[in-house]
């Protein structure tokens, strides 16, 4: 104990200073990245741009152009990005080798939204860099002009889609990197001022979309796609790196604390941000960090491209988040919006400890789900996906979309219903409760009551379950096919004492008389608000029907936009910033 105390004191004594502004954080990042020896375009760019170990950087770049097995969307945009950031410092031989890579490598385009953003950004900048060259000079047999026009056409299409009906891979703590980084490069190097402006607007939009559901480095609420490791430990996601650099949150000395290290490759993609000229508008930083008033925020996104078993290619996807100074309770409306990696709901809370999240899910999988979105042979898809994502068919996985899950949220109250078809492969639901909670018990009223610091979470299971102890969490598993939970979240700031919060649960009313017949529940919450919901049916709030289609594209105190308008308004107190994509124009007032 004494030893730990001394070590703790020593740690505090040697803890480095926390960088307080973007420039010092960017410098800190570059200091770390430039010391690496990984064959990475980000390491190469950091070394050369900071004039640190240039010789090694040139060797690394040479290696990057030699390995003919590499080729694809990640390589395409990051190679041209590293080249454009460093070209003046490169010898002619490396200019030729980088150029040759775009002739001899197959830059595979991929099959997802983020793949195409990376591929076409890379192709756009490469075609711009080497204009007027014949088709024989390019890996795809198209001339510079053909490649430029194609890339420009798709980038415009994607930006317009994102500004009008939203991203398919929206609000992803992992994949946000694969959108932000290409847009950083595009903004930095697009010669066309209109494309440059649009890239800036995309960066503003992506950051604002993150900011409004951001809390102390966490990307809260529902996510279209995320990896299980990041779902159960939100600050381990790549988005934390971007939050740290651009929002200044969480306030920690990055890289000295293993908890915050992103899962993949050290998260060096932010290097392109540190080297670039894009500066986050102050209004977005304020949106990301001002939590003086709790707020509800709704969004409309789109479902990923449906190619089978659906009448509509991109139906809307609805999202609700309630954001406070201490926690975010957020939810997607449910159903299959994205295959494989969907994260439908959680409460993410501010904590000094890892695994700061609680949620439930139905661990669904099927070839049919995958076939909705992937064109490969249905009978082989689940095995194929398991090879990449490792857990797709696992009954204990922590990410999943499910056709048998629906939600209804109002502020800090959430109803989650499950109506699992008989005969399904995974006939149960799971709940994640981290061991780092300060308190967790099942009250005799039936509520599972938890405390994490000053955040209070209560879940009322509509059917009984059992607890299973695992490494970092308790898994609550319930095997009833008709199932659900009611969630109430509070905090010391909102409710006073934990005892007071627990007592307030006694005021709630749970009516499950129609649950067996209709998977329906009526709930009156601690504040007297009545919510009634039938699985996949009508959502009633104090007797009035809530239409998800009434949700705006963005609707909350900080961001407003009508779906389809192409115009997004950011607000913070007296400041406004209007992103008018139709005119490729930003209007700012203070």
């Amino acid at each position: 104990m004494k030893t730990i105390g001394i070590l703790g004191w020593m740690f505090l004594a040697v803890q480095p200073a926390i960088p307080q502004d973007f420039f010092s954080r960017a410098q800190k990042l570059l200091d770390v990245v430039r010391a690496e020896r990984e064959i990475s375009p980000y390491v190469i760019a950091a070394k050369i741009r900071t004039n640190n170990d240039r010789q090694t950087a040139l060797i690394l770049l040479d290696s990057l152009t030699r390995d003919r097995a590499i080729g694809g969307m990640f390589y395409c945009y990051s190679l041209i990005g590293a080249f454009l950031y460093t070209r003046d410092a490169l010898p002619d031989s490396l200019h030729r080798k980088v150029r040759l890579a775009f002739r001899e490598r197959t830059m595979y385009r991929g099959d997802t939204e983020n793949h195409w953003v990376m591929y076409y950004t890379g192709l756009y900048l490469a075609a711009q860099t080497w204009p007027g060259e014949a088709r024989e000079m390019w890996f795809n047999g198209k001339s510079s002009e053909e490649n430029f026009r194609e890339a420009e056409g798709w980038l415009n299409h994607w930006m317009h889609t994102t500004f009008t009906i939203g991203q398919g891979e929206f609000d992803s703590p992992t994949y946000i990197t694969t959108f932000l980084t290409p847009m950083m490069v595009l903004h930095e190097f697009a010669a066309d001022p209109v494309m440059k402006k649009k890239a800036q607007m995309m960066l503003d939009l992506l950051f604002a979309d993150f900011a409004v559901e951001h809390l102390e480095g966490n990307y809260g609420g529902g996510h279209s796609r995320d990896y299980p490791e990041d779902i159960i430990n939100p600050l381990g996601a790549p988005s934390t790196m971007w939050a740290w650099m651009y929002f200044g949150k969480p306030e920690f000395a990055q890289w000295e604390e293993a908890r915050y290290r992103p899962r993949n490759r050290g998260g060096w993609e932010t290097t392109f941000g540190a080297l670039g000229s894009y500066r986050l508008p102050e209004i977005i930083r304020l949106i990301a960090t001002d939590r003086t008033e709790a707020y509800a925020h709704t969004e409309t996104k789109r479902v990923r491209n449906i190619i089978r078993f659906g009448a509509e290619k991109n139906p809307p996807s609805y999202k609700y988040s309630y954001v406070t100074q201490d926690y975010i309770l957020g939810s997607l409306s449910g159903g299959i919006l994205q295959p494989i990696q969907q994260h439908t709901w959680d409460v993410t809370f501010v904590s000094e400890k890892p695994n700061n999240s609680i949620f439930t899910l139905h661990p669904y999988y099927s070839g049919r789900e995958l076939a909705m979105f992937f064109p490969e042979e249905i009978k082989f898809l689940a095995d194929e996906v398991d090879r990449y994502h490792l857990v797709y068919t696992n009954p204990d996985k922590w990410n999943s979309s499910s056709p048998f899950e629906r939600t209804f949220q109002y502020r800090n109250t959430l109803i989650v219903l499950y109506d699992i078809k008989k005969g399904e492969m995974q006939p149960h639901i799971n709940g994640f409760f981290p061991k780092t909670l300060d308190e967790r018990w099942v009250d005799c009223s039936g509520w599972i009551i938890c405390r994490a610091g000053d955040v209070y979470v209560a879940l009322y299971p509509l059917r009984p379950g059992a607890w299973i102890e695992e490494k970092v969490n308790w898994r609550w598993r319930s095997n009833a096919l008709k199932n659900g939970v009611i969630v109430e979240v509070g905090s010391k700031r909102e409710d006073g004492s934990f005892a007071g919060f627990r007592k307030s649960l006694g005021k709630t009313l749970i009516d499950t008389s129609a649950f067996d017949s209709h998977v329906s529940v009526r709930f009156r919450n601690r504040h007297g608000i009545e919510m009634k919901y039938i699985f996949d049916g009508v959502r009633l709030l104090n007797g009035k029907e809530i239409q998800l289609s009434d949700y705006g594209f963005f609707d909350g105190p900080f961001i407003q936009s009508e779906t389809g308008s192409g115009r997004v308004t950011l607000r913070h107190k007296t400041r406004t910033r209007v992103l008018d994509f139709n005119k490729a124009e930003i209007i700012e007032s203070k």
Binding site: T106, D111, G141, E150, W154, R308, P375, E377
Partner: protein
């Protein structure tokens, strides 16, 4: 033996043999969609178009773009392999000089191509089936027009009348009688069809493989259909091939099927699995120069060949490959 060693030496030295040499043997082309090791965006074993000659045992050479997840291919008949197409997620790749130069003929509006078919007479007419529909080109892929909406797995052009086309789709089997301009559903009530094959001598006779519903046949150009189930214990069929010299012999393969063979034109079937490491068969082709020789492409175990009309099979290369389609050019 010396020849084989020579080829292997060239391959080891990194030489790319892009164009098949003029020899008397047929050339076997295979589109490889994936291998067991493929991960999007990573350093991967090669996928794409490969070719091979019967005397080359297990040697296959790659041609064209690497790592493109090739779902299908087409070779213009009689072009000696000069005009070839590979269908992939990146688009439709084309060569007109035997593989020395390739071009992706499609742009961002066309993706996830699962079928490519050529007019046997007019090399300018190309049809592709994608996850989003059928596209037609009348200028060898320079421009495209969408002519059908829906998920398409297979397109064939009637070898006796290029105005007539058939497509196996998620919405059933469709037929066009105006060179793909318009499409009408045939009389088959089954959705989710995966492959359609035309009898080599009777153009009105077609066999269709389906997802979960077995094999169906028509003898009147798609007006009426009957299920062919004698001897069949499986449901999902990705490929059906007639023996071109004796159309009473037919082969079929699909999910966990091994190879089914019929000796009565597809009325009754017998299954063989002798020699296969896996029994998922995605493509079958009969060598027109020696119809005892039959090729089978598997899902995940590469290529197999039979020398005795499908009785026995042996592995002939492309380990781990998911073989989308096989085309044999005499």
């Amino acid at each position: 033996m010396m020849k084989r060693h020579g080829i292997l030496l060239l391959l080891m030295l990194g030489f790319s043999l892009t164009a098949p040499a003029q020899v008397s043997e047929p050339t076997v082309y295979a589109s490889v969609f994936s291998t067991k090791l493929f991960v999007v965006g990573a350093a991967n074993p090669q996928t794409g178009m490969f070719y091979h000659r019967p005397s080359e045992d297990t040697v296959w050479r790659h041609t064209g773009a690497k790592n493109i997840r090739a779902n299908a291919l087409a070779v213009f008949p009689g072009s000696d392999g000069r005009i070839r197409y590979t269908a992939s997620g990146n688009g439709l790749h084309k060569t007109t000089d035997g593989g020395n130069n390739w071009k992706i003929t499609t742009g961002w509006r066309i993706t996830e191509i699962w079928a490519v078919s050529l007019d046997p007479v007019d090399p300018s007419a190309v049809y592709i089936g994608t996850a989003y529909g059928i596209y037609k080109s009348t200028d060898q892929g320079d421009t495209w027009k969408q002519v059908f909406t829906g998920f398409v797995s297979c397109i064939i052009v009637d070898r006796t009348n290029p105005s007539v086309l058939y497509a196996a789709t998620e919405l059933g089997v469709y037929k066009s009688t105006d060179r793909g301009e318009t499409w009408q559903r045939t009389g088959l009530s089954i959705d989710r069809t995966r492959t359609v094959t035309q009898h080599p001598k009777d153009p009105q006779t077609l066999l269709v493989g389906t997802e979960k519903h077995g094999i169906y046949a028509t003898s009147n150009g798609g007006r009426t259909w009957t299920k062919r189930e004698a001897g069949i214990d499986h449901e999902t069929f990705y490929t059906i091939a007639f023996d071109p010299s004796d159309p009473s012999i037919v082969y079929a393969g699909g999910y966990a099927t091994g190879v089914y063979r019929s000796k009565d034109g597809g009325y009754s079937w017998r299954r063989t699995c002798v020699g296969f490491a896996v029994e998922h068969i995605h493509s079958i082709a009969v060598d027109p120069t020696d119809t005892r020789r039959v090729y089978a492409g598997t899902m995940g175990a590469g290529m197999y060949r039979s020398e005795d009309r499908g009785e026995n099979w042996r592995f002939i290369g492309l380990p781990g490959a998911q073989v989308g389609r096989i085309v044999i050019e005499p």
